[in-house]
């Protein structure tokens, strides 16, 4: 532990399709809590994965105390004193705290004396006020406690730089306070803490230094004192969005196809995912819910499509209540899932089989498939939606992302749905495919109500008639996309800053 400065210089990292980090410089001083702020996709996790040895940069270097270092694995980085706590913890569920902390740590002898290790762990946890029972099993601990184990692992190995990736996502407000106290204590000792987040109020509370990334570039490097207020931070983070004026002919909205009245629901780990959400989608309009990923959208959609239960409130689909578990009438609903390759398609089967996934009952007569008719229909669909594929017998895995999405659209829209739920529909698509998808959605608007879930503000503003922002599971206001003043507030809203109304 020393007063060495760690710096990253000119870090560039490319992934197929995107430039995740573009020549980023970052200086990490000891004794400092350093916040790395930015939207989803800004490149924060990538940068930190490079620093912690998990990824290799395409260009640039890392210097510790002026000497360049190269990490071939997270272990190298850890040996140099840099460790990371990821969003998904790397803990062995059915082993104890002591076993997890001791894992991988070289000891002089092969025989492990558990009572000594447990004492060490207990001492460490008390020193940093991270109360933990070394004998407790990981799967008996709450997420907040598990996070403490992860931090303890790094402290046990005397890490000088601790990187935490979105640590407050799984914590209750009380646990957040405890975490911040711990981080301050760690920093006071002369270590550095890097804190990846997209939440502005946390940054203002805990950070000594703030670096803002946007679209792979560093756009600002400042201290809390430099910042007037949070709105300024938000603007730096989100930028001023140019709204693409897309051809949107006004359509008089019809009857309500989907309505949520004060709905609440839980995530898969039992934590609260969304609370008291209310909105309605009408035929003839596109209603967008926009927000940074991880604010409850996925669970909200799961509740609407019936794969998760609501814990409160009322959900009405085509006027009839739902939400007691079990899917709503899927023959009138088109659901385009975010997870194209996972839930939405059958990678190893051919295109016809894929197109039939949610439409096959209409091609079956008394258990037998009208194979020829199905094939002809499939060909027509692929044609109509301009899906480019090597052949009809190609497997779905061979399609590009854009074509796969178009296939899924073809399938779902062929049902003639009255309600379309599109979840991040252009995620990972190139501009051409994106425009195709947008065109199709706008075309469907005439006869259906569309719920669009998106993290792309530009997309939401271009397509939708009405828009709502979701933050921490709550809808922060619903307004029409014609309302210019309200539009300007959306960026800050996505980052959690609400103007006192």
């Amino acid at each position: 532990m020393a007063t060495t400065l760690t710096s990253m210089q000119g870090i560039t990292k490319r992934f197929p399709g995107t430039l995740a980090n573009d020549g980023i410089d970052l200086e990490i001083a000891p004794g400092v809590v350093h916040a790395l702020l930015g939207e989803n996709g800004a490149g924060k996790s990538t940068l930190m994965n490079i620093l912690s040895g998990r990824y290799r940069p395409d260009a640039g270097e890392i210097l510790i105390g002026g000497t360049p270092v190269r990490f071939h694995s997270p272990r190298d980085a850890l040996r140099a004193g840099i460790g990371m706590v990821h969003q998904h913890f790397l803990l062995v569920a059915n082993q104890t705290v002591a076993e997890n902390v001791a894992l991988g740590h070289k000891t002089p002898r092969a025989i492990l004396c558990w009572s000594r290790i447990e004492d060490e762990v207990r001492r460490l946890s008390e020193a940093y006020r991270l109360p933990l029972d070394p004998r407790a099993r990981i799967d008996e601990l709450s997420l907040g406690q598990q996070q403490r184990v992860e931090i303890l692992k790094l402290l046990y190995r005397q890490a000088d730089i601790l990187i935490l990736d979105e640590p407050t996502a799984v914590l209750t407000p009380g646990e957040i306070d405890e975490l911040f106290a711990t981080l301050r204590r760690i920093a006071r000792e002369g270590r550095s803490v890097i804190f990846i987040t997209h939440k502005l109020e946390e940054v203002m509370e805990i950070a000594d230094r703030i670096t803002i990334l946007r679209r792979g570039r560093r756009v600002a490097d400042l201290t809390p004192a430099d910042v007037e207020n949070r709105r300024e931070l938000a603007r730096l983070m989100v930028g001023r969005e140019v709204v693409l004026r897309v051809d949107r002919t006004p359509v008089a909205p019809g009857e309500t196809v989907l309505e949520l009245r004060s709905c609440s629901g839980q995530g898969d780990r039992g934590q609260r995912a969304f609370q008291r959400v209310s909105f309605a989608v009408r035929r003839g309009e596109i209603f967008a819910i926009v927000g940074v990923a991880g604010n409850g959208q996925r669970d909200l959609v799961a509740a609407i499509t019936g794969s998760q239960r609501l814990s409160g409130g009322q959900l009405l689909v085509f006027g009839k209540p739902h939400g007691a578990g079990g899917p709503p009438p899927m023959d009138r609903i088109a659901y385009i899932p975010e997870d194209r390759a996972g839930t939405g398609s059958l990678p190893g089967l051919d295109l016809t089989d894929n197109l039939l996934l949610t439409t096959y009952p209409s091609f079956c007569r008394r258990g037998v498939f009208r194979r020829e008719a199905a094939r002809r229909w499939a060909e027509a669909q692929l044609d109509q939606f301009h899906v480019v594929a090597p052949s009809l017998t190609a497997s779905a895995r061979q399609l590009s992302g854009g074509n796969l999405q178009k296939l899924i659209l073809a399938r779902e829209l062929s049902k003639g749905p009255d309600l379309i739920i599109a979840e991040q529909p252009t995620h990972g698509l190139d501009i051409g495919a994106t425009m195709d998808v947008w065109d199709e959605l706008l075309r469907q608007r005439a006869r259906a109500g569309i719920l669009l879930i998106s993290g792309d503000l530009r997309e939401a503003l271009s397509l939708s008639d009405r828009i709502a922002v979701i933050f921490r599971g709550q809808l922060m206001g619903v307004f029409s996309t014609d309302d210019e003043d309200a539009i300007a507030e959306i960026g800050p809203m996505m980052a959690g800053v609400v103007q006192a109304s």
Binding site: R54, Y55, S73, P74, R75, L78, L90, L91, V92, A93, N94, Q95, E99, N100, A102, L103, G104, H105, T107, A110, I111, L112, W114, R137, D139
Partner: protein
């Protein structure tokens, strides 16, 4: 049931359980690392053959044991190569090894069927053998059985109280976490898969050099498969594996005694079915019981190949 009968049954039980015990302990370690090795039967047979032939040729029982372990280990390394490096399907691979082991041992062993070779003789341990009831049963056995007595607690100690044991357990539960902690996941899997084969080979050698000395085609008669089942019965714990093997041996002994004494209390075919039905019942219980599942479930990464990002 008098004391003498009890001793008799216990003695037979121990004797009939040893081969399964060795193979089961080996497989516990293999599966704890996340690899499913269904080739145990084939490895056992090759071990039995190699052990017998080597001992006979060299007039050394020790060399026989070594040869058997080498044979089992070599086959296991093949399994490891295909499943770990080539990421082939572990079930198919294990079955292929079993078939290969049965066929190869049968083929190569044909000329020596009926040969009388070396065999272990019992080594009674003074003093200990005089303990009433248990003494004669436990301490008038052949040396490999004594090795077995030591193997079980050693295995337990190793698994839960040493660093390599902790590493092994983590690799089978959460290889990503182990990898992040700097542990060479695939190397560990190779090592413990080989160990499993070595143990299976040892079990086979016990059969051909001690239990039913000589070589007979297919002489393990499914004990390799029983060992695999015992691993699950044991919930991947060495003590319980020993218990399971002993139970199997006891059923065997009971069946034998009933036949000899012509007792018809439980039909012998039902007795023989018991270990297998028992295993099915255990499987159901451990899958359904949240309590047991929590305390001792299958290694979470069992059967899944490990692919590190950026491999």
């Amino acid at each position: 049931m008098d004391a003498e009968s009890l001793t008799f049954i216990l003695s037979i039980a121990i004797r009939s359980s040893a081969a399964i015990l060795f193979a089961a302990i080996g497989e516990v370690f293999t599966e704890r690392s996340g690899v499913l090795n269904l080739g145990v039967e084939g490895m056992m047979l090759m071990g039995a053959l190699s052990g017998f032939v080597a001992a006979h040729a060299s007039h050394s029982l020790a060399l026989g044991l070594l040869a058997a372990m080498a044979a089992g280990g070599a086959l296991a390394l093949v399994h490891g190569f295909f499943t770990i490096t080539l990421r082939a399907n572990q079930v198919v691979c294990g079955l292929a090894l079993t078939i290969l082991g049965i066929g190869l041992s049968s083929f190569l062993g044909r000329p020596i069927i009926g040969t009388v070779g070396m065999r272990f003789t019992p080594w009674p341990i003074p003093l200990l053998q005089d303990i009433p009831v248990l003494g004669p049963a436990l301490f008038q056995q052949v040396p490999p059985i004594y090795a077995g007595y030591l193997l079980v607690p050693a295995a337990w100690l190793f698994l839960f109280h040493t660093r390599p044991g902790l590493n092994l357990r983590s690799v089978g539960e959460n290889p990503q976490a182990a990898d992040a902690a700097g542990i060479p996941v695939n190397l560990i899997r190779y090592g413990w898969t080989a160990f499993g084969g070595v143990m299976a080979g040892l079990g086979g050698a016990y059969l051909s050099l001690a239990y039913t000395p000589g070589w007979k085609e297919n002489m393990s008669a499914g004990q390799g498969w029983i060992a695999i089942a015992m691993v699950i019965f044991a919930l991947w714990n060495p003590w319980r594996a020993a218990l399971g093997a002993l139970l199997f041996g006891a059923v065997n002994a009971l069946q034998f005694t009933f036949e000899v004494r012509q007792i018809t209390l439980i039909p012998s075919y039902i007795l023989r079915m018991l270990p297998y039905l028992f295993t099915v019942a255990i499987l159901v219980i451990i899958t359904r019981s949240k309590g047991i599942r929590r305390r001792a479930a299958a290694p979470a990464a069992l059967g899944l190949p490990f692919e590190r990002e950026g491999f």
